[in-house]
């Protein structure tokens, strides 16, 4: 290839490539502009208002109904970081954090163990597989608030669950699943597990089905036991899927609201008062907007940190997942 030819081929191409790049840039901003506009339009004022409320003492009762933001300004009084100091000394908030963490990690583990167990039993074809699969995903397709109220019908003291347990054990079981402080949060965690086990189940099913067969067969031929194949081949290969499953579930259950609120509104006492419920009560029942804003800010930062960590791990595992799928181009 001579120098002239190279120039001759390259010159028009750079021109076309440049206009192509420009076209892509135009396309990019055509798409992203409305998105950012909406984001700024809705979230920006909210974030600014949040800062304002958390640094001022503000009571909704002092503000008139009709004046809008002017009345908010009139009804507020600058107090600086006082509320944030209060948040950090708030034992109720600390307890809410602990409850949320316990609830989220407990229900995440519960979902995962049950879901993974079921997936391990089911991922090889057998008679009735499709039917079981359909039934097992139903809880995920039920509206959470419906689960809360149906849960109440089943769990209340003279409800069917106590009756069934009594019949099975032969003793009169009379548990107050919802109205006893010690077990109320656990009960809700069980409802969460019931609700979201299908999530872990379908993801682990998909993960197991996508595992490459060759290493397992090779190990089998070499005489490895099933147990060893599971621990040393399947489990390491499944790691990205497992982490994905745990992270997404954990983040979602940190924000769980309909079931905790719908069933118990934080009660009995404050036994089920998780972070979202506490913020809700502060803002929408005590109408303490300022303290609610300060709380929200602390939680926002806390959650952004947790989500950030979660996303970091997800991003790392996504690479492994993609490699897994690209290694098997023949798969669906």
């Amino acid at each position: 290839m001579t120098a002239e030819q190279t120039i001759g081929e390259n010159l028009p191409l750079t021109g076309r490539a440049a206009s192509r790049a420009q076209g892509i840039r135009r396309f990019k901003w055509t798409v992203l502009t409305p998105f950012f506009a909406l984001l700024i339009f809705i979230l920006m004022p909210a974030l600014i208002a949040q800062v304002f409320f958390s640094l001022n003492h503000f009571s909704i009762f002092d503000a008139g109904d009709d004046d809008g933001w002017r009345s908010y300004l009139n009804a507020s009084e600058w107090i600086g970081l006082e509320l944030f100091i209060e948040v950090f000394n708030d034992e109720r908030f600390l307890n809410a954090c602990i409850r949320s963490l316990l609830f989220a990690s407990g229900s995440t583990l519960g979902c995962f163990i049950v879901g993974f167990g079921l997936a391990l039993l089911m991922y090889r074809p057998f008679r009735g597989q499709a039917l079981y699969y359909i039934f097992f995903i139903l809880p995920m397709l039920t509206v959470p608030i419906v689960i809360a109220y149906t849960g109440e019908m089943i769990l209340y003291q003279n409800g069917p669950l106590n009756d069934i347990l009594s019949r099975i054990t032969g003793m009169r079981i009379d548990a107050q699943f919802l109205y006893k402080k010690e077990i109320a949060l656990t009960t809700i965690a069980f409802l969460e597990v019931w609700n979201w086990t299908p999530f872990s189940f379908i993801i682990m099913m998909a993960g197991l089905a996508a595992l490459p067969q060759e290493p397992q067969e090779a190990a089998k031929i070499l005489g490895a036991s099933k147990w060893r194949i599971f621990w040393e081949i399947q489990l390491p290969l499944l790691r990205p899927v497992i982490l994905l499953c745990l992270i997404l579930r954990f983040l979602e259950s940190m924000a769980e609201f309909p079931k905790t609120w719908g069933l118990l509104q934080g009660g009995p006492g404050s036994a089920t008062e998780t972070i979202p419920v506490y913020i809700f009560i502060t803002t929408w029942q005590y109408f303490d907007i300022s303290y609610g804003a300060a709380l929200s800010y602390v939680v926002l930062i806390l959650m952004v940190a947790i989500v950030w960590a979660g996303i970091y791990f997800l991003q790392r595992e996504k690479k492994n997942l993609d490699e897994m799928y690209f290694a098997r181009p023949d798969s669906e």
């Binding site: 892509i24 396309f27 990019k28 992203l32 909406l38 984001l39 809705i42 004022p45 909210a46 974030l47 208002a49 949040q50 409320f53 908010y72 049950v114 039993l121 057998f126 699969y133 039934f135 097992f136 995903i137 139903l138 809880p139 995920m140 397709l141 039920t142 509206v143 959470p144 608030i145 419906v146 689960i147 109220y149 149906t150 849960g151 019908m153 089943i154 009756d163 019931w194 993801i203 998909a206 089905a209 996508a210 994905l244 997404l248 983040l251 979602e252 924000a255 609201f257 719908g262 972070i275 913020i279 926002l300 959650m303 989500v307 996303i311 997800l314 991003q315 996504k318 799928y325 798969s331």
Partner: protein, 306 residues
Amino acid sequence: MAMTMSQKRNTFSAFRYFILTIWLLIVAFPMFWMVGTSFKPDKEWFAWPPVYITENATVRNYLIVWANINEYTKADGAHIDEKTGELSQYTQSLQRPWVALRNSTIIAGIATTLAVLFGGVLAYGVSRHNIISEGKMFQLLMLRMVPPIVLIAPISLWYRQIGLLDTITGLVLLYFLTSLPYAVWMAKSFIDEVPREMEQAAEILGASRWRTIWEIVLPLVRSGLVATFLFILILTWSEYLLALLLSKSEVLTLPVELSKYQGSTEGRVYGRQAALSVGITIPLIFVGLIIRKHLARGFSFGMVRR
């Protein structure tokens, strides 16, 4: 005694059916109880021992909830005004399920359509031209993963300020934003799987980018986008917190409508709640079963395929 291979297999099979059936019962029982209660007459809701299969099945709960027929009688313990002989205000249902159903359908429908259209185009840009980096794509997940409760109070005040509180538009905008991460990721996972040759051919033949998207890419990923649409429909349909806090009276959605029964003056009305719950749940289950093959992909943001 050592078992032969086939004995082992049979034991495992029996064990499997045993465990799976236990879980099947755990899954099915609440569903069964919900449907069962919706057909029970009032006095059986709290009966002890609980009535498992009612012998006096009635559709009265459905009529009262969905057709707003007030069939309370003295036997039900209803307050009847002595003078006029009519039902007192307390016993009349204040619920408007059809309005809620309409709201839910409109809000979920519009928000989902917007999210899928926009998400689809954005996903195309990401898949084909890398218009946003993978890191930014992951940051997009923040929109979904940070709990909305932390911003909902100022958003509601802001909405009041600009007149979006208690409007369909207000809820649609927020649902659009929160379901966008799912839409983009799920659509991208479908678009990634479509070969690029046809687009390249179209480009060489001089088709504009938008024309390529509308006439080549979208038709090719149509079934994937339909799955994305239905998946997001499930999420927006069952959303509770935003709907509860951003609607006052006008734009009640079905989950909020249901929660009104809990604090109502009528006391605990399990049968009515169940009748409404059944109505809310059936469309979701129907939709969910249609896309059951894509649920894993949806919930995992397209990271787990198949």
